[in-house]
Symmetry: C2
Subunit: 444 residues, 2 copies
């Protein structure tokens, strides 16, 4: 579909017309794309400066949002994410400055091949174009995403939650002032605020190159089902811990506590623990004691019930449920391959771990489990861009195709093949008297 066709589709399928905004953002992104690293870093510094200069206005806008949220009886966790104070804002601005220190993902020469004398192919990383990011109440996401977009040479259309509308507007005003001060077209960063605009945004094929939805599983699935634009994200996060026949119990228990209790609503927390039947009678009572001290409710299959008579019986639905809470399903398996089969059936292809002292079992697990993260003797909660050393995380993808798992700045770029010749034509390399290609690797 060409851009003009996409434009027609969009304008007929939606009452809200985002085309003018989309066109302005794309034009600004096109000017941003070729900027050298130093210029982009100066723009990021200018954004941080402007956020600092406008801190008072930002905090006042956030206070207005918070007041409205209290009147609307916003749920406590959402309210906590909405609330900005001077310390939290300063931390977020420091995060913006950190983005300037990350390596520039644009302009990397990934491949350099001489096809023939004077005909050279290079594959060079390039910005995607324009990102669409949809998030809930967290106003700090505005700062993080905008700086990541600028660093990667992309424009961005932000859609914040309506409960954070004043905060987001104040933040984007500051960010655009910073861009302007650095000589970058402020149209590269846009803010949408209404629900109708979300729908219209999903129809912007040809104008948006990637959509990053941040929110509940059902919201992410809604986005995936209602757009032809690529979506970076994960709906479910059903992670498993498999405690093998030759597991070190102490490691297994510490990892289970870390992966279930530390932050149960995280997508990298475990939902199901699989245990080899041969050790279940010894291991499960120790595990149950430890987890219950942390308030974890246990649900179990028949084997687990026979060992821990007071667990809630688990049903088929439990294996496919992301509790996001202090609940853990437990199931016995009679072999490593049964554990792998269970994970490949019910898992989210996010992160799954084995606890074992048998390196061969660990290697089989890592090879056969179909997930972005395959772990041995460590907590699934390491699945995170910061912990992986990526500096910043744009999201976690549970798709099989790359980018997969925790995605850093590299998820915001693509590449182009540059071919430079001097009048070269393919006819020279075809037919009876075809000249052979040299295909010489010029990348040292």
């Amino acid at each position: 579909m060409t851009v003009s066709q996409a434009a027609t589709t969009n304008s007929t399928s939606s009452a809200v017309d985002l085309l003018p905004i989309a066109q302005r953002t794309r034009a600004a992104a096109q000017a941003l794309a070729p900027l050298p690293t130093a210029t982009k870093n100066r723009a990021i510094a200018a954004i941080a400066d402007a956020l600092e200069a406008q801190s008072e206005a930002i905090l006042a806008a956030n206070a207005a949002d918070c007041e409205a949220a209290i009147a609307d009886q916003l749920a406590k966790p959402l309210y906590n994410r909405l609330k900005l104070d001077a310390v939290k804002l300063a931390g977020a601005i420091a995060g913006v400055r950190d983005v300037a220190k990350l390596p520039d993902p644009v302009g990397t020469v990934q491949l350099h091949t001489e096809l023939d004398t004077g005909l050279e192919l290079q594959r060079i990383s390039a910005p995607l174009g324009v990102l669409g990011v949809i998030f809930e109440s967290r106003p700090d996401a505005v700062m993080q995403i905008s700086s990541l977009a600028v660093k990667s040479g992309n424009g961005v259309i932000l859609k914040g939650g309506k409960e954070a509308v004043c905060s987001c507007q104040a933040l984007v005003t500051a960010i655009r002032a910073g861009l302007e001060a650095a000589g970058v077209n402020p149209e590269a960063v846009q803010l949408l605020t209404t629900r109708e605009e979300t729908r219209a945004m999903l129809a912007l094929e040809g104008y948006l190159d990637l959509i990053i939805p941040r929110g509940s599983n059902s919201f992410v699935r809604f986005v995936q089902d209602n757009t032809r634009i690529p979506v970076l994200g994960h709906a479910d996060g059903i992670c498993h811990l498999y405690v093998d026949q030759v597991a070190d119990f102490e490691k297994a228990i510490q990892i289970a506590i870390d992966a279930k209790v530390g932050y149960p609503s995280a997508c990298n927390a475990i939902e199901t623990l699989l245990v080899h039947e041969a050790i279940a009678a010894d291991f499960l009572p120790q595990l149950a004691t430890a987890l219950r001290q942390h308030g974890v409710e246990l649900r179990g299959d028949a084997l687990t019930q026979s060992i821990l008579p007071d667990v809630t019986p688990a049903t088929e639905a439990d294996w496919a449920t992301e509790y996001s809470d202090l609940v853990l399903a437990i199931k016995g398996v009679d072999s490593l391959s049964a554990a792998i089969a269970h994970i490949n059936t019910y898992g989210s292809r996010h992160t799954d771990a084995i606890v074992t002292e048998d390196p061969e079992a660990a290697a089989t697990f890592r090879s056969q489990v179909n997930a972005a993260g395959v772990y041995h003797n460590c907590s699934t909660r390491f699945a995170d861009g910061f912990r992986y050393g990526f500096g910043a995380e744009v999201g976690i993808s549970t798709q099989t195709m790359p980018p997969r798992g925790p995605v850093g700045l590299e998820g915001l770029v693509t590449y182009k093949y540059h071919l430079i010749g001097n009048g070269h034509i393919v006819a020279t390399y075809s037919g009876e008297t075809a000249k052979p290609f040299t295909h010489k690797n010029l990348l040292s």
Copy 2:
């Protein structure tokens, strides 16, 4: 969506039940995935041997298809692609053996980081799982795709055109015999033959990891619109040649002939030539003479018509049309940026070229044109996996996200993050007394 949910969706949404086949293929693919390079290469050699041994049966099956095709008055180009003879078959079998010589795309360590003492992260390339490949009459595609699937450790479900059903069955029989002889589960390669099965295949979310449709633009778009499985391919191929103000006319004319005349139905052939107004009066008559000698019909905008009075007037629709024939649309532009704007509006993000002696104009073109291939002084028809030196091509992708452009074996793999610890938990690295990560790059 979990596999069990996908299964339910599938069995209700389609009359044809492909689940048993899909499950057998996935199990076989899981066993294929960890095989060492030498074993996969032996299996590919065994496939070639079996194809040779069964050549007579394959050619007889093809002869039966060809006879039916003549009776059904199959279009000549389709018939030519369907027809196998001993020479063509031997060439295809040699192509199978060549796949064994390609580097193994699986098992590459892309990243190796120490997160802390004894806690190491590796990103390692891994097979996607199971591929779904849908193609028209070409039986040679069966051999090429099956060997690429084995090399990349993937299972494959092939869906051939009904006009090639006997050929495809004979080929897959030989391929599976070869796999079996090499000790590889032959269920890794499957063949479907009916149109109903195509629909059912598109619903196999959770069982198929990538769909590669080969066929007409409308067919590729149908596939993209009717599946949630990732699709590798391109619908349109509207490629441009822009002849800049300071172009070398001789290069421009030779490139235009090569890119339009050599193989006009190729997706990397040009459909529109843009010319800077300042040189149009000098350049277009020379171009027209050269192209018309090759039987090319020219269509032009008002400027072109004023210079070449006998061209067919071009309408808005011409800029968005892939002729796949000896037709070229010509348009004058008053600047490089107007050329870039036209390409970014009407192009397919496939491959676009500039002819210029001005390196700065070339650099701007390569930076600003949004396409997988951005070329300078060479023919768009170099956009091809073999010409790029990839050895084999699984397709050309016009999506913005990677893999993009001509895709070799690397398009058939993903990666997994392997994290190996010794009881490591994230609590150690959180809170007041957080231990810092080392994030040491261990990749030399």
